[in-house]
């Protein structure tokens, strides 16, 4: 909440887990309660406190407190204010405060969720969730009516993971929308949603979504442990959670997937992964994840297996191209010229005539230029987008070649590298290659192909040592489990995936019947 005047006050506490103030049990006096409340939450303009007396409830003193903007005004008016202000329903003059509490709670509020609380500490978090607090004079208890309702973005097509064929809806910033999308897809009683509030100040809702009996108990236990161990004051996006709970802190490789697509998440959950939806961001997490998960796109299952298998191979090649191409170019043109076909060598040499920089500097220059352009593309306002593209493409591409700063071949290498990077479905792993690429380039410029090979070996050793919540990062390739390879480098037809193809992530269970390959009627199904 921006501009909270009490922030300074709270910061005094060393341990953010403890509230600055001692627990405050509600006082019978409504006045005292409201004063204490005011002291705690200040007098921000969006906090609405309304007091009145209801004659028909034995001159009961009542107070509503809610935060404007977090509640649905219609619900508050019709569900809370109206029933309590209208006195026709009850006419008892001898009603006590305690009776009134029960009558109100059980008979008068046409609202789904009404909770009780007898300390401010119990009630305050609900206030911030959009509940309307109802305090009664003469009672040491209060109520909170679920009146939440705030402005939300509608469900849109996911911007970062588009598909040609497949569902076009993406998660939104609302946690509840997210869980509902999953419920709609997984109509099984086994679907479990566990909710956590993480972050002392943000109190961000974090939901753990998994299928009972399919997700691995060990993984769940580990995720719960790590979630509970998070001690921070704020969780603003799923990456906060990701960094706090993911394995291998010092690695360029992500060990948790993120997705904006409920269908992708449902797919992952069905295969034993655990989903983590975080309030306030459309990006949800999936864990555990192996290296190969990052090359699977949800569209892989929405189109035929042959084309999918082909695309998988393209993606893996794109991964290597994106990581190695500039390095290979440097290594081959500065150390191993004999490897090139003569005509290619001559044409490369012709292009390098008059280029003032050594190959490494040339490659670095172009790679950095591209990263600058890319970053600019993300930041710049939409309206001036085309201008930047023209500057990037024409000025930096063509003009740099014509001015003799870089060779045309290098422009091709850098562009192809950049394009390849976008072939990989997961931005997370694509970004990690962006960094490795630079290391590779330096190594290629000092040690040539020998260096590239050695670094690849080091990289492989590192990856083989990584774990994602106990699952080896390179499984099921290393350690090799042949029967799980049906969805790694190729995708076999769906009717052939009898067991869960990514079983390595969860528990081994059968997911469909045998021998479902379609055949003409009457043929032997044996």
């Amino acid at each position: 909440m921006p501009g909270n005047p009490q922030r300074a006050n709270r910061n005094k506490s060393d341990n953010p887990e403890q509230s600055a103030l001692a627990p405050f049990p509600l006082d019978p006096s409504l006045e005292v309660n409201l004063q204490e409340l005011g002291r705690r939450i200040g007098h921000s303009s969006d906090i609405v406190v309304r007091r009145f007396t209801n004659e028909s409830l034995g001159s009961l003193e009542l107070a509503f407190i809610y935060i404007d903007g977090l509640v649905n005004a219609d619900v508050v008016n019709q569900g809370v204010l109206q029933p309590l202000l209208e006195t026709t329903k009850l006419n008892s003059e001898f009603i006590s405060a305690a009776d009134a509490f029960h009558v109100i709670k059980n008979q008068m509020l046409p609202i789904g969720g009404v909770k009780e609380g007898n300390t401010l500490e119990a009630l305050l978090p609900m206030l911030f969730d959009g509940y309307t607090l109802i305090l009664l004079g003469g009672l040491q208890a209060g109520m909170a009516a679920a009146t939440s309702g705030w402005e939300k973005r509608g469900i849109n097509e996911p911007t970062s993971q588009g598909v040609i064929r497949g569902p076009k809806e993406g998660f939104t910033e609302s946690l509840r929308t997210g869980t509902s999308m999953l419920r709609r897809r997984l109509k099984t009683p086994d679907l479990r949603i566990e909710e956590y509030k993480i972050g002392q100040r943000t109190q961000t809702g974090v939901a753990l979504v998994y299928l009972e009996g399919i997700a691995s108990e060990q993984v769940l236990k580990e995720i719960r442990r790590r979630l509970n161990a998070i001690n921070t004051d704020s969780i603003l996006e799923s990456n906060y959670i990701e960094e706090f709970i993911q394995d291998g802190g010092l690695t360029p490789f992500p060990t948790i997937q993120n997705t904006e697509r409920p269908d992708a998440m449902a797919g992952g959950i069905l295969e034993g992964q655990v989903g983590i939806i975080i309030d306030g961001t459309p990006f949800a997490l999936l864990a555990p994840s192996t290296f190969f998960n990052f090359f699977q796109s949800s569209e892989d299952y929405y189109q035929r297996y042959d084309i999918t298998s082909f695309l998988r191979l393209i993606r893996y090649s794109a991964f290597f191209v994106s990581m190695l191409l500039p390095a290979l170019y440097i290594a081959v043109t500065t150390f191993h010229q004999e490897m090139l076909p003569t005509t290619l060598l001559i044409s490369l040499a012709a292009q390098r005539e008059g280029v003032p920089l050594p190959a490494l500097a040339e490659a670095l220059l172009m790679e950095l230029t591209f990263d600058v352009l890319r970053e600019a593309g993300v930041r710049m306002p939409r309206t001036i987008g085309p201008a930047i593209s023209i500057v990037g493409a024409l000025v930096l591409g063509q003009a740099a070649v014509q001015a003799g700063l870089v060779s045309a071949a290098m422009v091709i290498v850098v562009s192809f590298t950049a394009i390849s990077n976008f072939v990989i479905p997961s931005l997370a792993i694509a970004n990690s290659i962006r960094l490795i690429r630079f290391v590779m380039m330096f190594i290629a410029a000092t040690l040539g192909l020998f260096g590239i090979m050695s670094f690849l070996i080091v990289l492989l050793i590192h990856m083989a040592g990584l774990r994602s919540f106990g699952v080896p990062y390179l499984s099921p390739v290393a350690p090799m489990v042949p029967r799980y390879l049906k969805d790694i480098f190729i995708r076999v037809p769906l009717w052939d995936m009898t067991m869960r193809p990514k079983t390595i992530l969860g528990r081994e269970t059968r997911r469909q019947g045998d021998k479902q390959k379609p055949k003409p009627q009457g043929e032997d199904h044996a």
Binding site: T342, A349, P358
Partner: protein
């Protein structure tokens, strides 16, 4: 634990830093390389005279990329000649005149001048086998006069002359089979084998003047071209003589080097004997079986071939088996003559380019050991008698049964 981690980290950093120290000591930027596409060696005044053909990239294949903007009139390659007491001395002297470091890995051809071939090629072969960036897969040629002149000649349809010559010999040996292309390692293997002899195709200029100006390649019919001429025969390490094109063809039959060949032959040998038909030999296989008969070796040579009739200039009905048989016999006679003619010349030169020594060594180890001991191979070779048996089959006669000549006569 903490300290050891720190030390480990330091060690890692140090080892990484050391790569920077050692790194790039042998890197070469493309613009510093003189890409050599061919080399030629002559022997003059008791010195090696080496000519190198260095590709000029700015006139190279693509004119678009050249930011240096190489003018189109600049030659596709430059040559320069250096002298030295040893070959490497000559090579290193090239750095006195050239702006670029010589880079031999893309060399395609090596031309030996007759002077070198007479002087001996062992030292040169040794260099090619020993030096790291020298390729022993270069094609070796021999030139009658000055070898360096060959490299100056510009070629049409290709800018890279060395690669052009390589293409020429590769296509020739695939389509004509007159000369087998000889690579440096094949030369070395042949010279070090039991027979100790090798053949090298001759490359020559068809005219008196050298076309070495770029404008001249603008003409459609160059006055002087590069062509393959005869076949040089080396024995030991020296040139001992030449085989004509026909003799070279015969040798190809003897050494089973035929891939495809065209043979012109008389379709009716009894009437005239002037060649009036062509036959494309598509498959050919030669097997050689030496055997000792009393006091000399007899080589049984079975040549089997098959192919297509492609040209027929006489009156003939191909529906009749007899005429096919007649032509087959005529073809066999042609091949027999080629082989005999070739063998005579080879025997005269006394160089075992047929590889008989290898065959005898393999089939008759004992006697060959004795021959070696007596150093009598040259005499044994002279006494060898060959018995070629040729069988050629016309598998197809093309699209028409009767020759057009016979249609015309009606």
């Amino acid at each position: 634990m903490n300290i050891s981690k720190k030390t480990l980290f330091c060690l890692l950093c140090l080892s990484l830093l050391s790569t920077l120290l050692s790194g790039c000591w042998d890197d070469r930027e493309l613009s510093e390389l003189g890409i050599t596409s061919g080399s030629a060696y002559d022997w003059e005044d008791n010195q090696w005279k080496a000519t190198y053909q260095v590709i000029n990239p700015s006139s190279g294949a693509s004119n678009t990329g050249g930011s240096g903007g190489g003018s189109t009139s600049s030659p596709p390659f430059v040559t320069f000649t250096v002298k030295g007491r040893t070959i490497m001395e000559a090579v290193e002297k090239s750095n006195l005149t050239s702006t670029r470091e010589m880079f031999f890995s893309h060399s395609r051809i090596t031309v030996l001048g007759e002077s070198v071939a007479r002087h001996g090629v062992n030292q040169l072969i040794d260099l090619f086998l020993r030096k790291q960036d020298a390729r022993e897969t270069v094609f070796v040629f021999i030139a009658k006069g000055e070898a360096g002149d060959i490299l100056d000649q510009l070629m049409q349809l290709t800018k890279n002359q060395g690669a052009g010559i390589q293409l020429m010999i590769e296509q020739e040996s695939r389509l004509l089979s007159y000369y087998p292309g000889t690579r440096m390692f094949e030369l070395a293997m042949a010279l070090s084998s039991e027979s100790g002899s090798a053949v090298l195709p001759e490359i020559l200029l068809t005219g008196p003047e050298i076309m070495d100006e770029t404008q001249e390649t603008g003409r459609t019919d160059l006055k002087t071209r590069l062509a393959l001429g005869r076949l040089g025969v080396l024995k030991g390490e020296k040139l001992v003589g030449w085989l004509s094109q026909k003799q070279a063809f015969g040798l190809s039959f003897m050494t089973d080097k035929i891939k495809t060949a065209t043979i012109a032959f008389p379709s009716k040998p009894e009437s005239g004997g002037k060649p009036d038909a062509s036959f494309v030999l598509q498959k050919s296989r030669t097997t050689v079986h030496p055997k000792w008969e009393k006091d000399h070796y007899v080589i049984d040579m079975n040549i089997k071939g098959s192919g297509v009739l492609t040209e027929l200039g006489s009156v003939m009905d191909l529906n009749e088996r007899a005429s096919i048989t007649e032509m087959e016999q005529s073809l066999e006679q042609q091949v027999l003559e080629l082989v005999d003619n070739s063998w005579k010349e080879v025997r005269k030169l006394g160089a075992d380019v047929t590889g008989f020594a290898i065959k005898i060594h393999r089939s008759d180890r004992k006697r060959f050991k004795q021959i070696r001991k007596d150093k009598s191979w040259d005499r044994v070779f002279q006494e060898i008698e060959i018995r070629p048996h040729v069988s050629i089959e016309i598998e197809r006669t093309g699209l028409s049964n009767k020759s057009f000549e016979s249609v015309h006569e009606k």
